[in-house]
Symmetry: C2
Subunit: 365 residues, 2 copies
């Protein structure tokens, strides 16, 4: 694909046709499994994309912050899960109460202290906020061990909150060879946590799991819903983990070659493009081949990244792009790239057809 002439670089481009196909494909695959789909909107942060996800049958949205929830509730989404162990400051309490009057809101908890503060701070409004206890299924970030969910749920119930179930994020699936094992651990953790909660007298209606790498391995025997995010766009991480193909990638960064680096006699040709960490993001897991990929040049590598420069190492074969040539870059982690721009260029069949505002960009609180 040639980058449309009316797009200057660096700029994020979203291919509308691939985006819609990704949304539809995930919706039908999850429906076929008998699971609810609650896509994570932190990936796209765009109401127009959320509307397409809801139209395709999503049961609601997942977000990471109250600020994101506010944006999507204002855009008409009526069922939102804030999948984060919120510590409710007075400012957050006011906002969460207001939010819970306009949409059905659930939030995460993973400590008795956090649950107590949440319920007590919400006061009379606590009954309008459902809580899910976060379980650590092996990622070892937030969440409690499956066998330790009951005290958290009990603290929440004592504080006037309605406990509806458990959730987990199998983030350790983001490594080569890990998705299957992470999905197995995720199932086991949800299963065990749900049993513990039921034994403690809770009525568990929601068991929420799923990340883009594991969602297709999630079974409805233990989970009731899944929360993939990245699948709407795909990115270089998913590509290198073999969780998507290049033709499934809906988001690229249009970039221009701005400088040619002198090539060492025995080294690869190197050049600089104008997409740096301030538009690609600088996530680079140890197993990644570089700081992103070039869409039409799978053998090229982004060997170094600074704020406005990416250094591309060019494979031996093929003519090296000239200064002024334009290329499409696949970011490593699309959730970070999207959070760096105010709007995106929407393309279809190689034409610029729309611009969407990244309405929830920067909503960190």
């Amino acid at each position: 694909m040639t980058i449309p002439k009316d797009i200057d670089t660096p700029e994020i481009m979203v291919d509308l046709d691939i985006l819609q196909r990704n949304i539809d494909r995930m919706a039908s695959a999850v429906r076929a499994k008998g699971l609810n789909l609650r896509p994570h909107a932190k990936t796209h942060k765009i109401p127009e994309i959320a509307a397409r996800q809801m139209a395709a049958g999503a049961s609601g949205l997942t977000v990471a912050t109250i600020g994101e929830a506010e944006v999507f509730a204002a855009a008409g989404v009526e069922d939102i899960f804030i999948a984060y162990p919120l510590w409710l400051s007075p400012q957050k309490a006011d906002r969460l109460l207001r939010l819970s009057r306009t949409a059905r809101i659930a939030v995460g908890v993973d400590s008795a202290e956090g649950a107590t503060v949440l319920g007590v701070t919400l006061g009379n409004g606590a009954g309008n906020v459902a809580v899910l206890v976060e379980v650590d299924s092996g990622h070892h970030r937030s969440g409690v061990r499956p066998e330790a969910v009951a005290p958290v749920a009990e603290a929440a119930a004592r504080a006037g909150l309605k406990v509806t179930g458990v959730f987990t994020f199998p983030g350790h699936s983001y490594a080569p060879g890990m998705p299957a094992e992470a999905a197995r651990q995720e199932q086991q953790a949800l299963d065990q946590a749900s049993e513990v909660l039921t034994a403690a007298g809770f009525h568990v209606t929601c068991r929420s799991g799923g990340s883009t790498p594991t969602v297709m391995l999630t079974e409805n025997s233990v989970a009731t819903e899944v929360r993939p995010g990245v699948h709407v766009f795909g990115d270089a991480q998913q590509l290198e983990l073999d969780r998507c193909a290049a033709e499934d990638i809906a988001l690229t960064v249009a970039a221009t070659v701005v400088s040619h680096h002198e090539t060492a006699a025995d080294g690869p040709a190197r050049f600089i493009i104008d997409a740096g960490s301030k538009i690609l993001g600088s996530d680079r897991p140890a197993w990644a081949s570089g700081f992103g990929r070039l869409m039409d040049h799978p053998d090229a590598r982004i060997a170094a990244l600074s704020e406005h420069h990416a250094t591309v190492e060019w494979p031996g074969q093929g003519a090296v792009p000239a200064v002024g040539d334009r290329l499409r870059v696949i970011p490593n982690h699309v959730c970070l790239a999207m959070n760096l721009v105010d709007d995106v260029a929407v393309t279809s069949q190689g034409e610029l057809v729309d611009r969407w505002t990244v309405a929830a960009r920067g909503k960190n609180r």
Copy 2:
């Protein structure tokens, strides 16, 4: 310092008194060396900070993009250097021409092709834009070898541009033990490039160098100006490179402990704070001790980072912060953190005294 009650987390806080001291200290140190100071505004992106830098005697500002230049020109800065080898698309040409009518503008070039397109595209307006040839002093990013500057300058002159000198960015100074050697290479490169350009018949009036790690090592025998950026705030990289002390750090991220991770019998205590890569940035050089530091707990380490979670490993001694406690985080790379927020909380003597808009945030083009 306690985080002011009216600040919710996560949020960037700028300490006004330390900021002003950093600005003044750099201004007088550079003045004492007989050099001009042209601070890099990509670090802060805030007109109020630029105004303080100009008031302290800066000769102008450095920026990385036309978009940043537009913001600071609109705020009244009259002399701006875009230290980047711009490839002038039609869109950028229009904007650069408009800009050059409101401020004195210089831009970087590092290829004959780029210089030709720049001059030809600007047409009659080329005479209003000065150019500096970028020299690679060892960072091996953009820039040509010092001995190769003449053809680039000659192409620029042929295209109607006024060549005023050379510039370099010794980015390889950002590693332990490197600042002195990088500064030496920087001086040598500027010196040689300047001689080559003079021998080719150019009148070299500007030799521009300097990064925060090397600026104090830059001599006026070869450079005429320096372009440090990070010094206004400091960050964890500068701290770990010994280029600033903890009491010089003017920017921290207010964060809350949201989760306690179960501690392995033989491991350090671990907890989660609500400042992740979407507010800290995810730059982590190989030599860094982690993804940032805690201001009041120098022995703690940020061992892992995701979008809204940072995992802190706590040293053996001292009470582990409780869920709900608030901490100040020093980002690894402050230029990325600032680019993630719409505004910052300005504090003085532990009180919230102002809010500044990050007016040039996201201006990647």
